[in-house]
Amino acid sequence: MSSTAPAPGGTIAAGSADIVETAKAPRQLGPSPKMAIGFLAPALILLVAWVIYPIVYSIWRSLFGSNDSDFVGLSNYGAIFTDSSTLTTIRNNIIWVVVAPLVVTTLGLIFAVMTERIRWATAFKLILFMPMAVSLLAAGVVFRLVYEQDPDKGVANAIITTVHDAFASSAGFPGARPRENDQAPAALQGGAVVTKGATTLVPLVGINPQTLASAAQAGQPPADGGTVWLDVVRGGGGAVNQIDPQEKALAGLTVEALSGGKVVATATTADDGTYHFPGLTKGSYSVRLPADNFKAPFGGLTWLGPTLITPAIIGAYIWVWAGFAMVLISAGLAGIPRDALEAARIDGATEWQVFRRITVPLLSPVLLVVFVTMIINVLKVFDLVFIIAPGSVQPQANVIALEMWRVSFGGGGNQGLGSALAIFLLILVLPFMFFNIRRFRRDEG
């Protein structure tokens, strides 16, 4: 840095030295140092009280245990890297940092470039920006509902199951199964119902008889086959393994005749639950109802389960922040010299080439700022995880900021470890902060 221009952060003493050297320069350009201090003081006091002091105190506190009188040195920091649940939070934070900023920036770029081309750009931008007006807490509540497992409640699974059912419809009687005792003539074998030896009666249970109110009564087994029926009477009672008058038939099930481990014939149960194997000797085969008959309907994905929880929360985060990225990027887009784009087009570049070689390089400073801001933002993510993840998957969804709060206040009561986590988080954020500040400075210069 040259000696004539004091660094932006240069001290007042250095400034006055400059004045002595260049005697002919006007006496003073800015206000007097005293006045400068006077004007800076309120900001300085706030900065010290609300930023510097808490940081210093947190560092100090992190050297003590849950009780603030027993000094533990650096062992809280050691605990961060040895405790498996804290390591999970670090792993999750890494996933967040790798995925979320990239997706947010990319989506923001796509939206920004697209909205330049469409007629209702303002309306479109407004809608995309709308989630920013919702507090993260409310957004979390909304997405908790979106990700509900029950397709009747959760929009995400409602969409998935609708699409799925359009291609594969479920049939049969999910949940139906034989009774679990030694007297039952059939048993489960790998999802299929197989009779124990030769029988003509295949009683099943596990279905609410009221759902079969319109089904036909179970018929007596024919001479060349048998009957599959629901062996349950409303209110209990009825003879077990016997066809009672009010018991309903299970129609439309695939039935296979097994002899020596091989399928020798296949049939489907009729409306009264009966099936026929003409030509087979009675008693020479056992009966199998393949597992397909009892396949549960596709219920969508378990968004709030341990495996999908972090991607699901990242999805909610993207919903909130993509609009913000889009607005910043389209502001940058407006600043790109049009003639560069025009020149490229006249030279015969395709739109993709214009985008790749002209737009993106010219936009790169803005993209970088958005990207780095998102990284900082993602490192301290808290509220979405806190709200969207159900209690049982909180350990799998946990992130550092949430763990910090939990160990300090949420029952753990160990504010030493909490402070250590806070400092750890600060150290993670710092490089990106410096990077952003340096960029801003360079832009100003």
């Binding site: 807490l137 509540v141 009774r179 008889p209 159900p390 209690g391 049982s392 504010q415």
Partner: protein, 443 residues
Amino acid sequence: MVSRKIAVVAALALGAAACGGGGSSSTSGGSSGAPASSAAAAKPLQGTKIEIAAKWTGDEQKSFQKVLDAFMAKTGATVTYASTGEDTGAYLGPRIQGGNPPDVAVLPQPGLVQQYADQGALKPLSDAVQTQIDQNYTPYWKELGSASGKVYGVLVKAAHKSLIWYRQGAFDDAGASPATSWDDLMSKTAQTLSDSGTAPFALCAASGWTLTDLFENVYLSSAGPENYDKLSKHEIPWTDPSVTTALQKIQMLFGKKEMMLGGSSGALQTDFPTCVTQVYGQKKAAMVIEADFVASSAVQSGAKVGEDAKIMPFPKAGDTDPVILGGDVAVAMKDNPGAMALLEFLASKEGGEVWAKNPGYLSPNRNVSPDNYPDELTKQLAQTIIQAGESVRYDMSDLAPSAFGGTDGKGEWKDLQDFLRNPTDIKGAQQALESDAAKAFNK
């Protein structure tokens, strides 16, 4: 404990609001204005301001407000109620650190009494309050509110945790009947229900405390009160054979996906009031294993308590009939006459009877007559507590340090959820429980 009823999302929102320093609502104080001049001598605390923090919201807060109103009318003090939100520790922690605790706090777990007493945040109760406790409570409850020989807290509100709620309609349809032993419950009642196409249980496994309640009932019953006390204090390890037996009993339930609505994966996503709705609102399941406070959620789902929403005592899984209580302990965080007078009132027969006349309250005070309760069910519950006397045990997870027994996603809550996810691994579950317990108890 009881405000756990609130939908988890709303509760979280409350907790976060409390974090921000909000959530404090001033009472109307209508009683303190006008009669101020009438009899100053009769109202010893005229002009005293007392702040009490508790986690009750909604109807429970309204009922409690009636008690505060009675206290204000009697003493002339002004009492401000502050809602702590779902997570009392998270609300009180920063206020204690900041040197600005409420005068009186109602802690949802006796474990917190020990924790705060160790931090020096609690004030020992005055002799007048202790006299009330000696008169109205059995020694077990006095010991519960004590830490290192000093009495700090008084149990002001109880929850009966040894109940199974069932839907009469589902039992009628299946021809099932309530069971008196755990084995019968599993092999007869639940099996009959399952055969009839109704899921026997709606488990609220996303709320980890419902699983600890289940474990405690089975353990108290199968291992007996002495082992229960030892395990509560971590004097025997969680790898003890008595724990194995209890987990084997629970495995009968956890190990079969037909036993619960939605299998274990569905159960693990269901939080507390939702499972009650599944039984009484959606009518998808037949039973829910939880405490007396299920009643209000059941009513909200359109069920009538006593007609379609019925209770059976938690069946014996061993030799002991389990009776487990939860409850809230009131403590003084500032040593002043106002705080002590309020605690004295809450521990008294007089205060308890004002409270008992309002819905949603069950008193552990043996001198509060059951006749005060507005409904038959509560009367019955109060009688069982009074009759059980010395053999009642307190909710074990609430006696443990809250890092083990009372934190979402940690300790016992997490380990039992993992056991539900993988019910074949009893040994692994015991080891996880033991290592978490060791960590929390050695602090």
